[in-house]
């Protein structure tokens, strides 16, 4: 069927579009001299660039540590605060609900740069530059609305009546909560955590502003400041290697949880 053939070409196009640059990043990271060697695959793959990433010049392990701590703490805080608000928005009826939802969405409109100058001044005065708190606090500005948005979507679709049914069947409120609500809510909360974590992990501007050394710089900033194997050339090999290291865990997470992530990101848009 000709239509089937066209469809397959379209599918192939999508796959190449999305994955080719990523493939190229991996391939470039495995070449010893990517600037001069432009073949489509590494003829003599080498881990030279990956070694250089962790070398004394770059010390990428500190940046990785920083990213994990910053994104992790931000996610925990955003979700902790967000679940309460999302429960109210998803489950309870009250006047002005639409207004609150609109306000949460509106906070997504704020350009980070508008928040950054005063926050930078504040943290400079508090001598907190190049530590974790400024970044975590600033990241909350966009991760909290995101968490509320995604959690509300998931909570709206949960079959809450099951809790009532459990109580009718004789469970105590505590049991109903532990045995019914928590298992029901867990996937939604977990997916929201992933989405928020990725958003915080990818953040660049706040991190670039609030840090100056590897004491607190996350990977997004550290990569921008790399030196390479040879000091006289642009360190593209090392940069690509670092990029691969940073992206692989995210891609794996996304591969495993793609169905849920897509549901969390898009359902709100459809409901309008």
């Amino acid at each position: 069927m000709r239509q089937r053939g066209l469809l397959m070409i379209g599918v192939a196009f999508i796959a190449v579009y999305c994955l080719a640059p990523f493939y190229w990043m991996i391939v470039s990271s495995l070449k010893s001299n990517p600037l001069l060697d432009q073949a489509l695959y590494p003829k003599h793959p080498t881990l030279l660039n990956f070694r250089e990433v962790f070398s004394g010049e770059n010390n990428f392990q500190y940046a990785l540590r920083n990213s994990v701590i910053i994104a992790g703490l931000t996610t925990i805080v955003a979700l902790l605060i967000g679940v309460f608000a999302s429960y109210a928005l998803a489950r309870l009826q009250f006047r002005g609900k639409k207004l609150v939802l609109g306000a949460v969405l509106a906070t997504a409109m704020f350009p980070l740069i508008a928040l950054l100058t005063p926050l930078f001044q504040l943290f400079t005065d508090l001598h907190l530059i190049d530590t974790y708190p400024p970044m975590i606090v600033s990241d909350i500005s966009f991760t909290l609305p995101l968490a509320i948005y995604v959690l509300t979507t998931f909570f709206s679709e949960m079959p809450w009546e099951l809790e009532m049914a459990a109580k009718v069947d004789g469970a105590t409120p505590g049991q109903a909560f532990r045995k019914v609500i928590i298992p029901l809510a867990a996937p939604g909360v977990f997916t929201s955590a992933i989405i928020v974590f990725i958003a915080a992990w990818n953040e660049f501007l706040i991190a670039y502003t609030m840090t100056s050394t590897l004491k607190a710089q996350p990977v997004t900033v550290a990569i921008a400041k790399f030196t390479g194997v040879s000091r006289f050339e642009q360190p593209f090999g090392t940069i690509m290697a670092a990029g691969v290291l940073v992206t692989i865990p995210l891609v794996l997470m996304v591969l495993f949880f793609q169905r849920r992530i897509v549901a969390g990101l898009t359902a709100g848009g459809v409901k309008g």
Partner: protein
């Protein structure tokens, strides 16, 4: 006796909680209490800086002395004064970037969504690969595309061109457009796909029975029904691109007229330590975004109302 009021019975919904009027008030109180933590956090972290930034913008920068209140002089400096060249250059660059990337993202994303909507094997794999660009940090993809647009890089190789992509204005513009569209068209595809999947197949079948061509089905069935999903996608993306920072900063550092509103605001506030003028630029950006969102919303609403009204005879 005759004036005895009858108490109205509580509304009972099947399968849902019983909501008496007292119950409703208690519910509202609980909701209020649950919303307070998030409300306070957002107020402190967002409202305070924004208000303070506006306040700062009304003063002048004085690194070594005290700042004086100068009213709107910073704004006139940006719009018509010594800063206006840089400001309007960044303004027009950002606006053009937004318009162009949105067109490409919509077209490519919509096309991807249409393809993904057809059932085929390996659909889960495709959906997963579509999320890959979204998962890659923008800072990393900026490095990747900077690498691709290197004069010896893969783009020049594949297309047999020899531009110095990040070395002059229009090649840089297109390099940034391509890098941004690559990352976000798949995201738009997901949003549109969600809208497409709601349309039941029977509508298309009925149309086919009535003799509609594929193009007619697309225009009369698909487009109107995905409108809300597309509008949400457009709105989110537009707000994102107007604030764009990572890509231009990393790929060109604003050279050759590729400064965006966010990059100049950043450079003034943080790099050159002019918090007042920088706050002016960021406040202008902030209001620009609000106006843009408002306008798009109006256009979208008007469109929806028009098409809804057209169905009523």
């Amino acid at each position: 006796m005759a004036t005895e009021t009858v108490r109205r019975p509580a509304r009972v919904r099947r399968g849902g909680p019983v909501r008496t009027s007292e119950g409703r008030r208690a519910e509202a109180r609980l909701a209020f209490r649950l919303l307070i933590p998030a409300g306070i956090v957002l107020l402190v972290i967002i409202a305070y800086p924004v208000v303070r930034a506006i306040w700062l913008s009304l003063y002048n920068d004085n690194r070594f002395g005290t700042s004086h209140f100068i009213g709107l002089r910073n704004y006139t400096r940006a719009f018509t004064g010594t800063g206006s060249d840089d400001f309007w250059s960044a303004f027009s660059f950002t606006t053009l970037l937004t318009l162009v990337t949105m067109v490409f993202e919509l077209v490519i994303g919509f096309g991807m969504a249409l393809i993904m909507n057809k059932a085929f094997r390996g659909r889960g794999l495709i959906r997963a690969s579509v999320l890959v660009p979204w998962a890659i940090p923008t800072a990393v993809s900026a490095q990747l595309w900077l690498w691709n647009f290197n004069p010896n890089g893969v783009i020049n190789q594949v297309f047999h061109t020899s531009f110095i992509w990040t070395g002059s204005h229009w090649p840089s513009f297109w390099a940034i457009v391509i890098a941004d569209v690559w990352k976000t068209a798949p995201f738009i595809a997901l949003l549109v796909l969600a809208g497409l999947q709601i349309i039941p197949n029977e509508i298309y079948e009925a149309a086919k029975v009535d003799g509609a061509t594929a193009l007619q089905s697309f225009r009369r069935i698909t487009l109107p029904l995905v409108k809300s999903a597309v509008i949400v996608a457009v709105l989110f993306r537009m707000l994102d691109v107007l604030r764009i920072f990572d890509l231009p900063f990393i790929m060109t550092n604003g050279a050759n007229g590729t400064e965006t509103l966010s990059t100049i605001a950043y450079k003034e506030s943080i790099q050159q330590i002019h918090p007042s003028y920088g706050s002016t630029l960021s406040t202008i950006t902030f209001f620009y975004i609000i106006v843009a969102a408002f306008v798009v919303n109006l256009i979208a609403r008007a469109d929806v109302v028009k098409s809804a009204g057209g169905g009523v005879k």
